[in-house]
Amino acid sequence: MHVSCEELDAQAKGLLKEFENVTLTPKLRSQIPMQEMPTQDPHVRVTNMQEVALGYSDSQVRLEALRCLQCKNQPCIAGCPVAIDIPGFIAAAAEGDYAKSVEIIKESSLLPSICGRVCPQESQCQKFCTVGKMHKDVDKSVSIGRIERFVADYAREHHCETVPSVAPDSGKKVAVVGSGPASISAAADLRREGHTVVMFEALHKAGGVLVYGIPEFRLPKKIVEHELDNLRAMGVEIRRNYLVGKTRKISDLMEKDGFDAVFVGSGAGLPKFLGIDGENYVGVFSANEYLTRSNLMKAYAVGESLTPLFDSRKVAVFGGGNVAMDAARTAKRLGADEVTIVYRRTEDEMPARKEEVGHAKEEGVQFLYLHAPLKITANEQGRVNGVELIRCELGESDASGRRSPVEIPGSEKLFDFDTVIVAIGNDSNPLIKATTDGIEVNRRGNFIVNEETCETTLAGVYAGGDIVLGAATVILAMGQGRKAAKAMNEYLLTK
């Protein structure tokens, strides 16, 4: 049952009165009910592109913050890839000092309004939360991400953020390749030290995967634009329509254009396909293409956008990660009658954020677990008309610790679909490697870097984010961008 935001707020208001003026023992705190995230009604939201999660009300965030036990050993911090002072920012939020709360977060993370929305909290900070452990249910942990989102949104909307101060001109010049989360955080930290920072983006809009990949209904583009505006306000120059490796090579930037160092955060932009028969039929898309059409090119605005949409009735999405959820939920919004996630393992092994899986289910996306695609079939016009799937069972655990799917011979069956979206991940884009001598990559094409400094095998060239990690998360990319910037700032001192 969908509960409206008004009702959630009213409930929270009532409870807040109860708990506000009593001395809260840990036991009492743990009895405060976990605050649900208010959302658009599923029936309404499948007809629009607006954000699904609406954010806590003031009473909800206060109440949720009161659930935090302020543990001495702070297990949540150990679960955060950038070690945010989580109890600290939650304590400030509980007192209603949201500006202070966001300042505490910003000591470690530059993009709280984005990370609050897209981080997989249940497998990071919230996984280790003592409250969750008391309830023996990670879903009952303190909703750290939702509190983070609230205070970050509050600071943005009430203009109480401070633009980081910039040191006097250092005389040094740095190129940042790409404009996604790794590059945004590297650019900010480099600019703070007074270096001239130029960010190069290949597409006509900056923001990287935050703009072309993650849909509006999960991450409103105005939030990304706001973060880029903050960079511009600090004096970072953002050059769009510039493909490093093609428009100019890294060696040209360093030898001819006077850049003293380069950070490469060009991402994992090379879609993987399964290599099965029929993958090039009309109606088979990489998730990158499907999402880029909708998000970057605004194809969902039918009649306004010149980028066309493929008319779909029955859509199969291969994969179980966040990108698969994004693609499936986008397909629903673009008018498909039926959308099915086809996943080789079970729900427990799916890497997607729990909240996204829940939202997808509410929106009517179907899940076909323990099935693997064997081939795609098409009609005489080469347009997809079906997918042959084989049933699987879970076998031994693989290197990732997940049980691997084992196909059951003889269980092949043809299913009726007219569109297939392949969302099984990305490899590293080979363009920079191919056009830069001296950069070494591993077997998967990821840049090899010094773990402490993020420096590549080419002096003065650093890298972070998916180009190093393979397809990972926004927070990890951001963490690497900051780590690289720190090392680059030290390196530039010696130049």
Binding site: L203, H204, L243, K246, T247, T292, M297, G382
Partner: protein, 282 residues
């Protein structure tokens, strides 16, 4: 940035624009292309081959046919206007080397991107013959430039309104038999490239085609442009645009090009307004 320095109408629906784009001009080699987007949230990204470039003046030349909504809007821009988003040079350059005898085949607007390849092949010391074709005389472009560069130029039209009444495959077959070229380069509409490549196949002549598939980012990120080359999936934007014409799965490529056909026809009808092009001629 990206200011249009000159604009010329080469035929009823073909335009030539010289654009200020110093970095692209400096990096560009024959065979490479750009992607442009005319600004705002709703314009599409389209790939166009770079017909020529002057690294000293910092300009590139685009020659395009006003066939879709974006190329129509582009054709309505004037000297002094600028193209908001211009990315390039993209793709791999043409493999220009000393082959000996080379035939360059251009169909329709494909003659434009063929021209720098003809120039390059000549500079490398090849003997170059050009076959250029169009549906009718009014759609023929760059004949003079070709005649000034190539050793021989054969012009054909579908309706015989100019030159020889034939498809490009006829003189191509004759040259394969009598002149025995070492390399054939073909650029034009997909269906023409398919049959021209089939023409050279029995003779085992090295045949290069330049593909122009549906594309969004042009950096290898979306995979929309993928084609099957010798049974392997390749991306036109980063692995191409040029491939061995005998290895291309033409039928699959033609099907994929038709992915959005019903919608494009609708848009095509709307977008002729303002350019004085008669319906049915474009």
């Amino acid at each position: 940035m990206n200011t249009i320095l000159s604009k010329q109408r080469l035929s009823q629906e073909v335009f030539r624009m010289v654009i200020q784009a110093p970095e692209i001009a400096e990096a560009r080699k024959p065979g490479q292309f750009i992607i442009l987007q005319l600004g705002g949230d709703f314009n599409e990204r389209i790939p166009l081959t770079i017909a020529d470039a002057d690294p000293v003046a910092g300009t590139i030349t685009l020659i395009f046919q006003a066939v879709g909504e974006t190329t129509h809007h582009l054709a309505l821009l004037e000297e002094g206007d600028s193209i908001e988003n211009l990315l390039g040079p993209l793709g791999k350059p043409t493999d220009i080397e000393k082959f000996g005898k080379v035939v360059c085949v251009g169909g329709g607007i494909g003659v434009a991107p063929l021209f720098p390849i003809v120039q390059g092949m000549k500079q490398m010391g090849n003997e170059v013959k050009v076959i250029m074709g169009a549906r009718n005389e009014s759609l023929l472009i760059m004949e003079e430039e070709m005649r000034a560069t190539a050793d021989e130029v054969i012009v054909v039209t579908d309706d015989g309104s100019y030159g020889r009444k034939a498809l490009v495959t006829e003189p191509l077959k004759e040259l394969c038999e009598t002149w025995k070229p070492d390399c054939v380069v073909i650029i034009g509409p997909p269906i023409m490239m398919k049959f021209a490549a089939l023409t050279t196949k029995p003779y085992g002549i090295h045949t290069i085609v330049s593909l122009n598939t549906i594309m969004i980012d042009g950096t290898g990120m979306c995979g929309g442009c993928r084609v099957s080359i010798g049974g392997k999936t390749k991306f036109v934007c980063v692995d191409g645009p040029e491939f061995d014409g005998h290895q291309v799965d033409w039928d699959n490529m033609l099907l994929r090009l038709g992915t959005y056909k019903p919608k494009e026809q609708e848009a095509h009808h709307r977008c002729h307004i303002g350019l004085d092009i008669k319906e049915g001629e474009a």
